[in-house]
């Protein structure tokens, strides 16, 4: 997201490919690419938080849950327009994100990671407790069936909008402040950056993005929101996606989203291990390998390639 | 006498920054040698290069044997005790535990070594259980020296021992170093900014500037040298 020209070219290529794909792919694959889009949005948000302000969250699955349940409950009870539910999800998660971001200010690194992890594990328990309103383990059924194409279009349209939004945020004063916070908190304060505001804002924004992703996630499941879909694995997937993506590269985020969106599905049919458990074994091994080989994620790899090309 | 420690054309760098540009020096067994020079000359880096703490090239020989790619623990096991800048004391551990660590590479009982150490630093014996971090600066420096001695090293590397110490303590420290050298035959390579004290304690010295050896010789020769007198001895 640095200089104008290369980014524009990449964007156009990506946009063109995305427009063409529905014509070539099967129904199931369209659905898969839509899933990648959902992860794209969530990882984009997480990237703003981790990449730009250096705060590690292993709990953004919780925000996806909140967003998803917002959509499901509003659809079920009020038959609200789907887009409106997504906006609500965005707003609610933004506020919740700010609320979480406030105490998070006092925590650093490892402690924040632990707290967000506990958040990710705990939030899915809440629907189990308040089962009348939130559907219990059976989930909230809102029966809004949508076609794969609709989900594909909605997801990538949102991705585009949210990507532009992120770009606008990050290139402006806010972005510079975020980067300042990441690079050196002490220096940032010394140069007058109001740390708490920016760190909390980053949390709110990333949570809002995750909320929208959660809405789309539920819509992709035909309006069905279930606690088991928002378990801790989801948060781990998001974090892995952000780590594989690396810092601040569009291609990196796409790679990260594709990695977590596609790999588990693709690895279900693995010989020897069998469909059920192949997913976890292959995915887990892949995550380890990628991190051993590319500790700075895809963006780091691209940076290295660019440096080699220049030399 | 053969040189216990030999450096030949040693270069060292921290990442892309080259600090030593081909240092050669030799330390005879049983002698005390000083390394002098201004800040940033590469004195500490020289010791770090010997201990294997920085990326280095060139030849370093200990007792005739080259120290190829050994890390600090390997070099320590060969009988080198390095007291770094800042002393390297384990502040959360007790005095006794620090001493015990000094003798980490030794097998079997270290009682005789401890007895020896307490003859040079009698006050340490009373303070065995005290947390090392609560000792004064001077006491910590003495502890560091004691810890190095318990190791019974062939070679002692001392980095800026006088830093942050009152003159009285510094004099005492160097007195003990000389005593260890004379009584126990300990070979010492000491890096010091305080050229006066260093040359008093040492038999020979090297002057480093910007990563090069610019002057070397016996202490008397160095003390008599005009540039040394002007720059480092102040007269």
């Amino acid at each position: 997201m640095r200089s104008q020209i290369p980014a524009l070219a990449s964007l156009l290529v990506v946009a063109a490919v995305l427009c063409l794909l529905p014509f070539i792919l099967s129904e199931y694959n369209i659905y898969l690419v839509a899933q990648v889009g959902i992860f794209f949005i969530a990882v984009l948000g997480l990237n703003i938080l981790t990449g730009y302000t250096g705060q590690i969250s292993i709990g953004h699955g919780a925000f996806m849950a909140i967003g998803g349940y917002t959509t499901a409950v509003m659809s079920r009870d009020h038959h609200t327009n789907l887009v409106v539910t997504m906006l609500m999800a965005f707003a609610i998660c933004f506020v919740v994100g700010l609320l979480v971001g406030l105490p998070a200010l006092r925590l650093s690194g490892v402690y924040l990671a632990l707290v967000t992890f506990a958040l990710a594990v705990s939030i899915p328990q809440i629907p189990l407790q308040y089962s009348t309103f939130l559907g219990g383990s059976g989930g909230v059924v809102s029966s809004r069936s949508v076609s794969n194409l609709w989900i594909y279009t909605a997801t990538w349209a949102c991705s585009a909008i949210l990507f532009v939004l992120a770009w606008l945020i990050l290139r402006g004063r806010l972005g510079r402040a975020f980067r300042a916070v990441r690079d050196s908190e002490i220096a940032a304060v010394a140069s007058g950056v109001e740390l708490p505001i920016y760190k909390t804002l980053a949390f709110g924004i990333s949570a809002a993005y995750a909320g929208v992703a959660g809405s789309l996630f539920v819509l992709a499941a035909n309006g069905f929101a279930q606690p088991s879909e928002f378990d801790v694995f989801l948060s781990l997937q998001l974090l892995v996606g952000a780590a594989v993506a690396g810092l601040g590269s569009l291609w990196g985020i796409l790679a990260g989203a594709a990695f977590v969106g596609l790999l588990p599905q693709v690895s279900t049919s693995v010989p020897v291990i069998g469909a059920q458990h192949g997913r976890d074994v292959v995915f887990g091994a892949a995550v380890i390998l990628v991190m051993l080989l590319l500790p700075d994620g895809f963006a780091g790899l691209l940076a290295r390639i660019r440096r080699l090309a220049r030399a | 006498m053969t040189a216990l420690l030999e450096l030949q054309d040693v270069e060292a760098r921290y990442g892309p920054v080259h600090v030593l540009h081909g240092i050669s020096l030799a330390v005879e067994e049983g002698s005390v040698v000083a390394v002098l020079g201004p800040n940033g000359a590469g004195k500490t880096t020289t010791l770090r290069a010997i201990s294997g703490m920085v990326r280095r090239s060139g030849t370093i020989r200990l007792g005739g044997r080259p120290l190829k790619r050994l890390g600090p623990d390997g070099v320590a096991r060969l009988g080198v005790a390095h007291v770094p800048e800042g002393r390297g004391t384990f502040s959360e551990l007790s005095v006794w535990e620090n001493l015990r660590l000094g003798a980490y590479t030794r097998r079997g009982s270290i009682q005789p070594e401890l007895e020896r150490v307490f003859t040079y630093f009698p006050w340490l014996s009373d303070r065995r259980r005290q947390q090392a971090g609560t000792l004064s600066g001077g006491e910590q420096q003495m502890l560091a020296l004691a810890r190095a001695f318990v190791h019974r090293p062939r070679l002692l590397l001392l980095d800026e021992p006088s830093l942050g110490l009152a003159p009285v303590l510094v004099a005492e420290l160097f007195r003990i170093v000389r005593e260890l050298n004379e009584e126990e035959g300990l070979t010492v390579l000491v890096v010091e900014q305080n050229a006066h004290l260093a040359l008093q304690a040492a038999e020979a010295g090297y002057v480093l500037e910007a990563g090069h050896v610019v002057l070397s010789g016996s202490s008397d020769e160095l003390r008599a040298d005009d540039s040394v007198r002007r720059t480092y001895l102040g007269y």
Partner: protein
């Protein structure tokens, strides 16, 4: 474990000034102990719940201690610590299927756990440790997922039953029924914790490990093989985890792949409560959390066992807000 993990110990030198926050913590703990004692004497239900809480809490404490060991040595939170413990429990299960007695399998499992821990540190953690913190965290996350997958693949997800080493009997102490299981759990965990403590406190190896964790550069200068120390640290942590898993299983009645997942969260809370760098704190924290959770679930009808996890999270959050360094930790230098 070391001479100065608590502020009080650190001021042993000359004067007798005591750090006020340490005094508060001690007072709180003493108060809690008195509260528990009185409660036990007045109500058999309370006493039974407390015993159960202590037993479960010791398991949480064992896993928390494993986490703290790894964190102190390598400054990494091993997210896979629980799954690793679960995996070693399955290994014990398998060994027993092949004819070993419980305690034979127990001993063999601990040895296997040690080997596994060291191998993992050397192959997976060492390469990324110095490059990137987040990469190391992700590797442990990947390990979490991988182990889960492997266990499901080899043994399947259905419930297995393992013989309980302590039988089904119980002691009757003045009307309070204390099952042999709970006593056994506490004894086994306490013994392993004490053994590990003794290793660190009294042996040269333990000293080397402590030194390597505190100041790796200075430790290397005295001849400590820092990398090996870290690997051994991981090995010991895996052993503590194995003990936790083996003791957790009978209390959950059945063995399943999700055995250690909630326990990992409680262990995190316990480790943080105790202060991530304090081994004693981790164990005490574990017992505190175990007792608190059991009593609350027992006495407060609104908080069912489903809410235990969010409750633990709330505890975690409160501690981190009030005293991030935990009960026994030293006050961290507060960054901007």
């Amino acid at each position: 474990m070391s001479a100065g993990t608590s502020a009080v110990g650190g001021l042993r030198a000359r004067g007798w000034s005591i750090d006020p926050s340490a005094a508060t913590v001690v007072l709180l703990l003493v108060g809690a102990a008195i509260f528990l004692l009185v409660g036990c004497l007045r109500s058999t239900t309370f006493a039974q719940l407390t015993v159960q809480g202590v037993a479960l809490g010791s398991v949480y404490g064992s896993l928390a201690l494993a986490l703290v060991l790894v964190y102190r040595a390598t400054h990494v939170i091993n997210f896979a610590q629980g799954e690793l413990a679960m995996f070693t429990t399955y290994i014990a299960y398998e060994l027993m299927l092949h004819g070993l007695s419980y305690w034979e399998a127990f001993a063999a499992t601990l040895a296997i756990a040690f080997a596994l821990g060291t191998v993992l540190q050397v192959t997976l953690i060492r390469p990324v440790q110095h490059r990137s913190v987040i990469a190391t965290v992700i590797v442990t996350v990947g390990l979490f997922i991988l182990i889960d997958g492997i266990v499901n693949w080899i043994w399947g997800g259905d419930y297995k039953s393992m013989p309980s080493p302590f039988g089904l009997g119980a002691y009757n102490v003045g009307g309070v029924v204390i099952s042999h299981l709970y006593v056994g759990m506490v004894v086994v965990v306490l013994s392993s914790v004490l053994l590990v403590w003794a290793l660190f406190r009294f042996t040269k190896l333990g000293l080397g490990m402590r030194a390597a964790a505190m100041r790796p550069a200075a430790a290397a200068l005295v001849g400590v093989r820092v990398d090996s120390m870290l690997a051994i640290g991981w090995g010991l942590a895996a052993v503590l985890g194995a003990v936790a898993g083996l003791m957790a299983e009978p209390s959950q009645i059945f063995l399943s792949p999700t055995l250690m997942q909630p326990i990992l969260v409680y262990a995190f809370a316990a480790a943080v409560l105790g202060g991530l760098e304090s081994p004693a704190g981790a164990v005490v924290g574990g017992v505190l959390i175990g007792v608190t959770l059991t009593l609350i679930v027992g006495y407060v009808p609104q908080i069912s066992s489903e809410l235990q996890l969010p409750f633990a999270f709330a505890v975690l959050l409160v501690i981190l807000l009030l005293k991030p360094s935990g009960l026994f930790g030293r006050r961290e230098v507060r960054r901007v």
